[in-house]
Symmetry: C2
DNA sequence: CCGGATCCTCGGTGATACTG
DNA sequence: CAGTATCACCGAGGATCCGG
């Protein structure tokens, strides 16, 4: 026992799931690992405010539960990394769905909201409309940072490729991406205000926000 | 503040969701309410081991979060009941998905496992294959208890109707339903051992376990 | 009986310091 | 870098009590 919260003990899939990933910080750790293996300190950075002892305890709990696994990076770095097991990876759809639900009651991005573009991968995956046809290659930029987004065959990915050649480049802060996707701002007003600058195909850029758009779960459930 | 666990504070849909329903017992309370409004004491019975103060605190938290609402039953009972708001109802799909994930690492039902048939509604909803065509009417029985199951137009429901007329009646304990659906036991062996008794159409009865069958999420994710 | 409120204890959580 | 050690605290768990 490493300090995990007490178990529910019911013979129920939901109770079992909560035994495994219902602990505080657990699901946020899984979220961080959705894009690939991370090191301990990288996890700490992505989880602002997590106490280091709690992080260590949760990583052990998740490992014991078969959700993540510790492994050594291939040589020569040979650092410790944490990654999802296939079972942990199977949580992705559920997590995106839960994130979408929570986002419904999340207001506009706060004033000083500034996060790195990489943190957009989770909400973009969640909002992605799988019905999308054809292939689309975008690059989001903000200063030195950039995030490549490829939509193809009904899937999204975020290739980390220096020689990536997008159809359209969108220069904008992370918060603006979310504000437009959530409908708090429009594509046109963002361009007009100068907070969104386009390079390449403007139609493609506009298409981005048709592909990534927050659905209304509450209405859809009726 | 009523004692809710500390909030994460990130501008992230998942973190927001966990702020709302990430507290201990919260999601199990929502699960209980999926089938309709319940009273305080009914909730207590469905949540074995929940401390009454925690239940009260969580109900208030969930109400403050807009997930559930207190209301008075129509006359003449005029009792306090708790029910999901539309926003809370929108959690259903996600919850079923999380339950399915957890159920993957849940073993065989324990020896002495005996629960009322009504607790099957959650796992049955979760395992339901939406591609099902036509209409099917089942009744599960166990002693005095019974559960009506109607599959129609790609949806399931559990009508509480005394004059219900099923196509097939399956007399069996709740644990056996889950054991067969999870593949720990087969329909035939259950019939042969006498733990499953059929009335009405045997083919219909067999069909039940094609409609309600646990998928393998881990394999499906590849 | 229903719907909690109160009290007390224990352990998980969070913050900081420290170490191989 | 990747954790462990320590400690204060407060939420969780359990029992009991109370007003309608």
């Amino acid at each position: 026992m490493t300090g995990m919260t007490r178990e529910y003990g019911q013979y129920c899939g939901l109770a079992r799931a909560l035994d495994l990933v219902g602990g505080r910080w657990s699901l946020l750790i899984v979220r961080e690992l959705l894009d690939g293996p991370l090191r301990y300190t990288e996890l700490e950075q992505g989880l602002p405010g997590v106490p280091t002892n709690i992080l260590a305890a949760r990583l052990r709990d998740l490992e014991d539960g078969g959700v993540i696994e510790r492994s050594l990076q291939p040589r020569p770095s040979s650092a410790v990394v944490y990654q999802l097991t296939p079972y942990g990876k199977a949580l992705e759809k559920t997590l995106l769905s839960l994130g979408l639900w929570g986002a419904q009651s999340l207001g506009e991005p706060p004033e000083g909201f500034a996060s790195d573009l990489h943190s957009l991968t989770f909400p973009l995956r969640a909002m992605f409309q799988e019905r999308t046809e054809g292939e689309h290659r975008f690059q989001i930029r903000r200063g030195e940072e950039s995030l490549n987004v490829v939509v193809s065959h009904g899937t999204v990915c975020f290739p980390n490729d220096p020689s990536f050649e997008p159809d359209a480049i969108l220069e904008m802060p992370a918060g603006l991406v979310l504000a437009i996707a959530k409908g708090y701002e429009t594509f046109d007003s963002a361009v007009e205000s100068g907070n969104l600058r386009i390079e390449g195909s403007p139609e493609k850029a506009r298409r981005f926000f048709e592909i990534f758009k927050m659905p209304d779960l509450v209405e859809a459930a009726r």
